[in-house]
C-alpha cells in the first residue's frame, strides 16, 4: 500500500523524473558514440516529445481539467500544464536546432543534459505551490542556463556571457531568497496559497509587518525582474543573448524568461495580492518603461541577437500588463502572449542559428539579400518578425489583442489610468515595427551576396515547427484562448473575471 501512495504522490512529478533520468544518461551515452553525435539529440528529444504528447492530450483532448498534486509542494494543473507546454515546445525547437549548430564543439552529452535539466527547473517553477519549491526550480534552471551560455568556453564572448549571467543570476537569486525569508517571517509559512490567506486575514493583525511585506514585494520585483529582463534590471540580457550559442539564446528568451513570469504571477496575484494597490502603479510604470526602452534601444542595434534581446525586453513589458490589470481575462492574455512569444521568438533565434550554422554571421547587414539566398529562411524570419510586431493574422496579433483589450476593459471598471497600458502597448507596437520592418527590408529589398544557403535539415524542421504554430494559432486561436481561460480561472479563482 505504501508504494501505491508514493506513486500517487509522484504522479504529477513524472515529467520531471523522466527529464532528470534522460539528463543523467546523456553524458554517459556521449562516450559510446564515436564520431556522429547526432543520435544524442534524438535521444534528448524522446522525453520531450513524450511529455509534449502527454500534456497536449491532457490539455486539449481530455474531458476533465488537468489536476495532479505532488504533496503540498507542486500541482500539475492547466496553468502549470500550459507553461510546461511552452517550455517543452521551446525545448523541442532548441534541441532540434542544436546538433548542426554545435557540431564542431565538444561535450554534446552535457549540452543536452543541461538543456533537459534547465527545462526540469522551469517546469518545477510553474508547478510550485510553495516558495521553497519555486526557489529550487529557479536555481535548477538558472545554474543549468549559466553553464549552457558558457558552453563555448574557449570563446571570449561566450565566457563573458556566462560570467555576467552567473553574477547577475546569483544576485537576483539572493534578492528573491531574501524576499522569501521576509515573507516567511511574517506569514509563518512558505505555501503560496496560505500566505495569501494569512496576509488577507483581517483578524490577523499584520499592520506592524506591513512594511516588511512591502520590502519583500520590492525585493521580489527586483529579483524576478532580473529573470524576465525588465528595465531597469535588463542590462545583462543583450550581452548574454549575444554571447551564448544561438539555440541557447532562444531557450533563454523564449523559455527561461517565461519561468520568471510563472513565478511573478503566482507570487503577486496569490501570495501578496493584498498589497495590490501598493505595487499596481509601480509595476504598470515598469511595464511601460520596459516596452518603451526595449523598443527604443532595439532600433539602434546592429547585431540581430542584441536586437532580438531588446525586443524580448519590450515583450516582457507587454506581458507584464497582466499584473497591474489583474483580472482573469488579463492573465488569459498574458498566458496567451507567453505562449505565442515562445514560438515567434524561438523561431526567430533558430533562423539566426541556421545562419550561424552555415557561417553567415549575426550582423543585421548579413541579412541583406537573404530572400535570394534562402527563400525559406527569409520568409520564416519575416513571419516571425511581423508576428512580434503584432500584424494580423499572425499569432502575436491575437495574443496582443486579448492582452491590450483587457486593459481597455479594466479601465472602464477600475482605475481609468489602466487604459494607458493599452495605449502604450499599441504605440510601442508601432514603434517596434520600425526595426522589424528594417530586417525585412534588408532581406527582401536590398542587394546582397547571391550564393545560395542550404539550410541544415534539422534546423529547418525546428523553424518549420515554430512557423506552423505561429500561423496556425494566428488563424485559429480558439483552442488556445479557451485553454488560457481555463488556466487563468483555475489558478487564480479569486481574481475578478474581467470579461462580462
Amino acid at each position: 500500500m505504501a508504494e501505491v501512495a508514493v506513486w500517487d504522490t509522484l504522479q504529477g512529478f513524472t515529467p520531471q523524473l523522466i527529464l532528470i533520468a534522460f539528463a543523467l544518461i546523456l553524458p554517459g551515452l556521449d562516450y559510446l558514440l564515436k564520431k556522429d553525435k547526432r543520435p544524442l539529440a534524438w535521444f534528448a528529444l524522446v522525453p520531450l516529445v513524450a511529455i509534449a504528447a502527454f500534456i497536449v492530450t491532457k490539455l486539449f483532448f481530455s474531458s476533465e481539467p488537468l489536476s495532479m498534486q505532488v504533496g503540498s509542494l507542486l500541482t500539475l494543473d492547466t496553468f502549470s500544464g500550459l507553461f510546461m507546454l511552452v517550455f517543452i515546445s521551446v525545448g523541442i525547437v532548441v534541441v532540434l536546432a542544436s546538433p548542426e549548430f554545435i557540431r564542431r564543439d565538444r561535450n554534446h552529452g552535457e549540452y543536452y543534459a543541461l538543456v533537459l535539466l534547465a527545462l526540469t527547473g522551469m517546469t518545477v517553477v510553474a508547478e510550485s505551490n510553495d516558495l521553497i519549491a519555486l526557489f529550487v526550480g529557479l536555481e535548477t534552471a538558472g545554474i543549468s542556463s549559466f553553464a549552457l551560455s558558457g558552453f563555448r568556453k574557449s570563446e571570449n564572448r561566450s565566457a563573458e556571457a556566462a560570467t555576467k549571467y552567473f553574477i547577475i543570476g546569483g544576485f537576483s537569486s539572493a534578492l528573491t531568497l531574501f524576499a522569501i525569508s521576509l515573507i516567511y517571517g511574517v506569514a509563518g509559512t512558505t505555501n503560496i496559497a496560505d500566505i495569501g490567506l494569512i496576509l488577507q486575514d483581517p483578524a490577523a493583525t499584520l499592520e506592524g509587518s506591513r512594511s516588511v511585506v512591502l520590502l519583500a514585494v520590492v525585493l521580489f520585483i527586483a529579483g524576478l525582474g532580473f529573470k524576465i529582463a525588465l528595465v531597469p534590471f535588463h542590462m545583462w540580457a543583450p550581452d548574454v543573448y549575444e554571447g551564448s550559442p544561438t539555440p541557447i539564446s532562444g531557450l533563454l528568451a523564449a523559455a527561461s524568461k517565461k519561468m520568471g513570469f510563472a513565478a511573478l504571477f503566482k507570487i503577486f496575484l496569490i501570495a501578496v495580492i493584498v498589497t495590490k494597490t501598493d505595487w499596481q502603479v509601480a509595476i504598470a510604470a515598469l511595464a511601460i518603461i520596459s516596452m518603451t526602452v526595449g523598443n527604443l534601444i532595439a532600433i539602434s542595434q546592429t547585431n540581430i541577437k542584441r536586437m532580438l534581446a531588446y525586443s524580448s525586453i519590450a515583450q516582457a513589458g507587454y506581458i507584464l500588463i497582466a499584473l497591474p490589470v489583474g483580472t482573469q481575462y488579463a492573465l488569459e492574455g498574458g498566458l496567451f502572449h507567453i505562449l505565442t512569444h515562445a514560438f515567434m521568438k524561438s523561431g526567430a533565434f533558430m533562423v539566426v542559428a541556421a545562419m550561424g550554422a552555415v557561417a553567415v554571421g549575426e550582423k543585421l547587414e548579413d541579412f541583406k539579400g537573404l530572400s535570394k539566398r534562402s527563400p525559406f529562411l527569409s520568409f520564416s524570419m519575416a513571419i516571425f518578425l511581423l508576428s512580434l510586431a503584432g500584424i494580423p493574422p499572425l499569432a502575436g496579433f491575437s495574443s496582443k489583442f486579448v492582452l491590450f483589450s483587457s486593459a481597455v476593459y479594466a479601465s472602464a471598471d477600475g482605475p481609468t489610468w489602466l487604459v494607458w497600458l493599452a495605449i502604450a502597448g499599441v504605440l510601442n507596437s508601432a514603434l517596434s515595427l520600425y526595426y522589424y520592418a528594417r530586417v525585412i527590408k534588408y532581406m527582401y529589398m536590398d542587394p546582397g551576396p547571391t550564393d545560395r544557403i542550404s539550410v541544415p535539415p534539422m534546423i529547418g524542421i525546428s523553424i518549420a515547427l515554430a512557423l506552423i504554430m505561429v500561423i496556425t494559432i494566428g488563424l485559429y486561436p480558439q483552442a488556445v484562448i479557451d485553454l488560457c481561460e481555463t488556466a487563468a480561472a483555475g489558478a487564480f479563482p479569486i481574481l475578478p473575471a474581467g470579461l462580462p
Binding site: L386, I391, P392, P393, F397, S398, F401, V402, F404, S405, V408, Y409, A412, A422, I423, V426, L427, S429, A430, L433, Y434, A437, R438, K441, Y444, M445, Y476, P477, Q478, I481, D482, E485, L499, P500
Partner: protein, 510 residues
C-alpha cells in the same frame, strides 16, 4: 438564385489561391502574370455576377440575423463562428455601399495586372503580392465583424510596403517605411476604439451591426462623451487612409516612389478603405459623435479639397500632381458624408467609385510617360501629342474626367456632393467650388505644357513610342466605364440609395 452558395468566400478564395500558386511557381517566373490574370479575372467575373444579382434585387435582406434586428440590407450574408471565447465571427456580406467598391477592387486589380504585363524584375513576387493586396482590400469591403475587418485592413499594408520598397523609385526606402508606420499607427487608433466599443456595448460580439445595435441603436450604452472620443479616434484612424489634411504627408511620398500599378491600387482602392470605414462603421455606430463633430469633418474636408488643389498647382512631377489631386478629390467624399443627407452620402460613395476609375487612368498615364519618355517632370516634356497621339488622347480624356467635365463620371459625383452641401451650408458653397477652378487650372496647364506646344528638346524624342497594347487596353476600358457611369450614374444609385437611406435614418434624419 445563389442561396447556399458562399459567393463572397469563393471570390475571396480566388486571389488567395492565386497568390499561393504564384508564390510557389519556383523558377517559372514567366507564368506568374498568367496566374495573376486568371485568378483576378475569375474574381472580377464572379463579382460582376454578384452585382447583376443586386440589379435584379437591390434591397432584399438576409433574414433573421442578429435576432432579426439587422438594419443594413446585406446580401450574400455568411456567418460562421471563428473565436467563440471572444465573440469573434467570420461574417461577410455586401450591400449598396460596399458593392461598388467591391467591384471596383476586382476591376482595378485585374487591369493593374494587365498594365504590369512587361514586369520582369521578380515577377513572381510582384504578381503574388498584387493578389495578396486584392485579398486584403476585398476583405475590408465585405467584413462585417470588427476583428475580421481589422485583420484584412492590416493585411493590405504588407504587400503595399513590399511593392513600394522593392519596385519603387529612388527614395523607396523612406517612402515604404513612412507609409507602413504612418498607416499602422492609424490602424492602432482604430484598434483601441474597436476594443472600447466592444466592451462598452456589453462585450458580446465583435459583429459590427450587433455593436451598433447594442451600443447606440437599441439602447444608449454609448454615451455622448464616449461617442465623441471614439468617433474622433476613428476619424483619425480612417482619415489617415483617406487622407485628410493634416495627416496626408505619407501619400505624396508613397505615390511618387510606388510602381505604377502600386499607385493605381493605392489611390484607387486603399484610399477608399478610409472613406468606407467612416460610412460603414464610424457614422452609423456613433451617430451622436458624428453629429458633434459634423462641422469639424466639413472643415477638414474643405481644407483638404482646397489645399490638395493648390499643392497640385505647384507640382513639377506629373505623378505628384495627380497624387495631390487625390487629396483634393477625396475631400469631396468626406464633404458628402459630412452633410448627413441622403444625397450627400450617395454622392460620397459614388465619388469614391468615380475617383477609383479616374485616378487609375491618371496614374496609368503617368506610368506610360515615365516608361516612354524616361521622365515625368512637366518642364522636360512638351508637344508630345505629335509623337504619341494615342497616349495624349487618353491622357486628355483622363484629365478632363478628373477636372469634372460634364458627361463623365466625376462630374456627376462632385456635382451631387456640391448639391448636397447646398442643402446644408449653402452660404459656404463657394469654398469647394473655388477648387473646381483651381483643378481645371492645374490639369489644363499641365496638359498644355506636356502634350501641346512646341516639341521638347530636353529629352530624346526620336525614339518615343506610343502606348503599348497592355497599357492602352486597361486605360481604354476604364475610360469606357468613366463615360458609361458619367451618362448613367443612376445604375449605381439604385444600389447606393437604399443603404444611404438607412444611414441617414440612423443619424436621426431622413
Amino acid at each position: 438564385m445563389f442561396e447556399g452558395i458562399p459567393m463572397i468566400t469563393i471570390i475571396l478564395l480566388m486571389p488567395i489561391i492565386g497568390s499561393i500558386l504564384t508564390f510557389s511557381l519556383g523558377r517559372r517566373e514567366s507564368w506568374a502574370k498568367w496566374f495573376a490574370l486568371s485568378f483576378s479575372l475569375a474574381a472580377l467575373v464572379l463579382s460582376v455576377v454578384v452585382a447583376l444579382q443586386f440589379m435584379v434585387n437591390p434591397t432584399s435582406q438576409a433574414t433573421g440575423y442578429h435576432d432579426g434586428r439587422g438594419f443594413f440590407n446585406y446580401q450574400f450574408y455568411e456567418e460562421h463562428v471563428w473565436i467563440k471565447a471572444l465573440g469573434i465571427n467570420y461574417i461577410v456580406g455586401l450591400d449598396g455601399i460596399s458593392l461598388p467598391l467591391f467591384v471596383l477592387t476586382t476591376l482595378l486589380c485585374t487591369l493593374s495586372v494587365v498594365f504590369s504585363w512587361d514586369t520582369k524584375v521578380r515577377a513572381k513576387e510582384y504578381f503574388g503580392l498584387m493578389l495578396v493586396l486584392e485579398v486584403g482590400v476585398l476583405g475590408v469591403f465585405v467584413s462585417l465583424d470588427y476583428f475580421l475587418f481589422y485583420v484584412f485592413w492590416e493585411i493590405v499594408l504588407i504587400p503595399m510596403y513590399f511593392m513600394i520598397g522593392i519596385w519603387g523609385g529612388p527614395k523607396k526606402d523612406y517612402a515604404a517605411i513612412k507609409f507602413f508606420i504612418y498607416t499602422h499607427v492609424a490602424s492602432l487608433a482604430m484598434l483601441i476604439s474597436i476594443m472600447a466599443m466592444f466592451f462598452q456595448a456589453g462585450a458580446h460580439s465583435f459583429s459590427m451591426e450587433r455593436i451598433a445595435l447594442d451600443g447606440s441603436i437599441d439602447s444608449n450604452l454609448f454615451t455622448g462623451g464616449f461617442q465623441i472620443a471614439i468617433f474622433a479616434a476613428l476619424l483619425f484612424g480612417f482619415g489617415v487612409k483617406i487622407p485628410i489634411v493634416p495627416f496626408h504627408t505619407w501619400l505624396p511620398d508613397a505615390h511618387v516612389e510606388a510602381p505604377t500599378a502600386g499607385s493605381v491600387l493605392l489611390a484607387g482602392l486603399l484610399l477608399k478603405m478610409g472613406g468606407y470605414g467612416l460610412i460603414r462603421i464610424a457614422i452609423p455606430t456613433l451617430p451622436q459623435g458624428a453629429a458633434s463633430l459634423q462641422i469639424l469633418m466639413a472643415v477638414i474636408a474643405i481644407v483638404s479639397i482646397l489645399y490638395g488643389a493648390v499643392l497640385s498647382l505647384a507640382q513639377k512631377d506629373l505623378k505628384k500632381m495627380v497624387a495631390y489631386s487625390s487629396i483634393s478629390h477625396m475631400g469631396f467624399v468626406l464633404l458628402g458624408f459630412a452633410t448627413f443627407t441622403e444625397l450627400g452620402i450617395v454622392a460620397g460613395v459614388f465619388q469614391m467609385f468615380a475617383h477609383g476609375l479616374v485616378t487609375a487612368v491618371l496614374f496609368m498615364m503617368c506610368g506610360v510617360m515615365q516608361h516612354k519618355c524616361g521622365t515625368r517632370m512637366i518642364p522636360s516634356l512638351g508637344g508630345l501629342s505629335r509623337k504619341m497621339p494615342r497616349a495624349s488622347t487618353l491622357m486628355t480624356i483622363g484629365f478632363l474626367a478628373s477636372l469634372g467635365l460634364p458627361g463623365l463620371v466625376s462630374f456627376a459625383a462632385e456635382f451631387m456632393v456640391l448639391a448636397s452641401m447646398f442643402q446644408v451650408w449653402a452660404l459656404w458653397l463657394w469654398l469647394p467650388i473655388l477648387s473646381v477652378v483651381i483643378t481645371a487650372g492645374y490639369y489644363l496647364w499641365a496638359l498644355q505644357r506636356t502634350m501641346f506646344g512646341p516639341l521638347t528638346d530636353q529629352i530624346d524624342t526620336t525614339k518615343i513610342h506610343d502606348v503599348s497594347w497592355y497599357e492602352g487596353v486597361p486605360v481604354s476600358i476604364l475610360i469606357f466605364l468613366i463615360a458609361i457611369f458619367g451618362v448613367f450614374p443612376l445604375v449605381m444609385f439604385q444600389f447606393i440609395n437604399p443603404a444611404a437611406h438607412i444611414v441617414v435614418g440612423l443619424l436621426g434624419g431622413g
